[in-house]
């Protein structure tokens, strides 16, 4: 089963590194951008309470503000098991770019991970970076099963409204949400953003 980026490739399927979706949109405060990293998709309600972030996996938002598709800033999110919190580094110019990273600079924000079933715990740093980490409903929606039939050649189109069904209904993901003042992101109006998961080596 695969979809937006859920279980998109053999090596990361079922791993803490499996990205399901990236969202970047304007916050309720128009001077902020919101970055959402969803991982570890297709969690049933029964398996959500025991799903954990991984200390050895960082989630890294890469931001190119010069148009060359190379990161000029990174926002790194690292889980700390001892404090059960998500620690945020950046936005900061990374000391190296590409497939290998290290945590850059000093921690700029952190938030306790919200437990399954508990009210959302949020935290805002002095620099105005607001953070959430914990389980959420998977916001992605798609009649994946009918798509698979089309690709397999056993159907020629999607189902009618009312017949179609969301294959992600009732499933959860582990989310990190960071709302960041646009003033910290640079650029002249357009950014290129991508999300990477990186594993400790």
């Amino acid at each position: 089963m695969y979809a937006a980026d859920h279980i998109d490739a053999p090596a990361i399927t079922g791993q803490t590194t499996d990205i399901t979706d990236l969202y970047v949109f304007q916050g309720a405060t128009a001077s902020n951008l919101v970055f959402v990293a969803n991982t570890q998709g297709l969690l049933s309600p029964g398996s959500t309470a025991t799903a954990k972030f991984d200390e050895n996996t960082i989630m890294e938002f890469n931001i190119d503000n010069t148009g060359d598709n190379k990161e000029d800033l990174v926002i790194q999110c690292k889980y700390d098991a001892a404090s059960n919190s998500m620690q945020v580094y950046g936005p900061i110019l990374p000391s190296e770019i590409g497939t290998r990273s290290k945590l850059e600079g000093s921690m700029t924000a952190s938030v306790a991970v919200t437990a399954y079933g508990a009210a959302a715990v949020t935290s805002t740093s002095a620099a105005g970076i607001q953070v959430f980490a914990g389980p959420r409903d998977d916001p992605f929606f798609f009649d994946l099963n009918q798509y698979k039939k089309i690709i397999a050649g056993t159907a020629i189109g999607f189902l009618a409204p009312g017949m179609a069904s969301d294959a992600f209904a009732g499933t959860n993901v582990l989310s990190v949400v960071a709302e960041v003042p646009k003033a910290l992101l640079g650029g002249a109006g357009t950014l290129n953003v991508w999300l990477e998961t990186k594993k400790k080596i």
């Binding site: 110019l93 497939t99 189109g157 950014l191």
Partner: protein, 182 residues
């Protein structure tokens, strides 16, 4: 300005190296590195455009290197899918250009570098290729603009909407925006 920042970073980096070599610091902590495992910019790019053999490699390639490696493969897969759909349904209208005027070569050139373009001066949406909101119907937008809908977005209506148009839970108006889990 950017050059200045980079120079400053080099200077600071040198200072850190010098500091860690001082004799008064007998056990400098080894730098911990992390290696890329998964990558994502726009929704569903790896899923739709890459064959099975290329999916892991795509996820571990930086975007600036993706175009040269993956655009030819994307193009071959788009052409093959177009032929396949026609073979299954004579009424299928073969792909020419999309609503942005992109032919298959332009389409795959634009999408093989998998980054999400985001505006900082307006309201980002996926339909305008300026971001991605939670409520954006990513699949319908991609089906219409990117694959099957032709120059007007209206061709092949059986393939331009999955008819699942909203999430199964309402989103929140304020932080953290995503709905509580089931």
């Amino acid at each position: 300005m950017k050059t200045t920042i980079k120079l400053l970073a080099i200077v600071l980096g040198s200072t850190l190296i010098a500091t860690s070599c001082k004799k008064s610091d007998p056990t400098p902590a080894a730098t911990v590195y992390y290696q890329q495992q998964d990558q994502k910019g726009r929704p569903a790019i790896n899923t739709v455009f890459n064959g099975a053999a290329d999916k892991d490699g795509f996820n571990t390639t930086p975007p600036s290197a993706m175009g040269a490696i993956f655009q030819p493969k994307f193009l071959a897969n788009v052409v093959a899918l177009d032929g396949f759909l026609k073979s299954k349904n004579p009424a299928y209208v073969n792909y020419s250009t999309n609503a942005l005027g992109w032919d298959p070569t332009a389409l795959t050139t634009n999408l093989a570098t998998d980054v999400l373009n985001v505006t900082t001066t307006g309201t980002p949406t996926l339909a305008a290729l300026t971001g991605r909101t939670l409520a954006d119907d990513a699949i319908d937008i991609e089906l219409k603009f990117v694959v099957f809908g032709g120059p007007t977005g209206a061709s092949n209506p059986q393939l331009t909407s999955d008819n699942v148009n909203t999430n199964d839970k309402p989103f929140l108006a304020s932080f953290p925006y995503l709905a509580a889990p089931f």
